[in-house]
Subunit: 94 residues, 2 copies
């Protein structure tokens, strides 16, 4: 059995054009089934949509007694064939 750090994590990729309410629904769904989800975003527009989505998703799961927090870090991502530094937002239940 793998250690927690090696377990497969669901990754949601968010773009500037992503709709925050839809991403929020996806976050809530993965949180309910797996307890955590990783959100990746490259660029200011995408990071902004991702943060809005996490703020909205908090409201989606609060009735189930789930209090979501996010942990931001930098991550090297491949985007359009180029290496870019993106933002990883690990969303977890507190």
């Amino acid at each position: 059995m793998p250690e927690e750090g090696q377990m497969q994590r669901e990754v949601l990729k968010v773009a500037t054009t992503s709709r925050p309410v839809l991403v929020a629904g996806a976050i809530a769904g993965v949180i309910r089934s797996q307890g955590r989800v990783e959100v990746h975003a490259i660029g200011a527009g995408a990071v902004n949509q991702a943060i809005k989505a996490i703020a909205i998703s908090r409201g989606y799961v609060v009735a189930a007694g789930l209090d979501l927090v996010c942990i931001p870090s930098f991550v090297d991502l491949s985007f359009d064939g180029q290496d870019r530094t993106g933002i990883r937002l690990l969303v977890e239940v507190r």
Copy 2:
């Protein structure tokens, strides 16, 4: 003595032009003295700088055994005399 929810919270206002390493230092300073800090940002560029700052600040306080998380929400802010919806990032020690 006021309840926790009524206590004065330090608020850091982040702009698109803010330098993430400087904001990160400010976040780390307030965390060390007060254990939590509120970061406000309006617009995608500012939110992006704020998230970068929080990611960097995690590294500044990890040696002290502090594991930072952030809790995003929407907040009504006054900006240049206009009411705008901004993002509030509550940064706390887990």
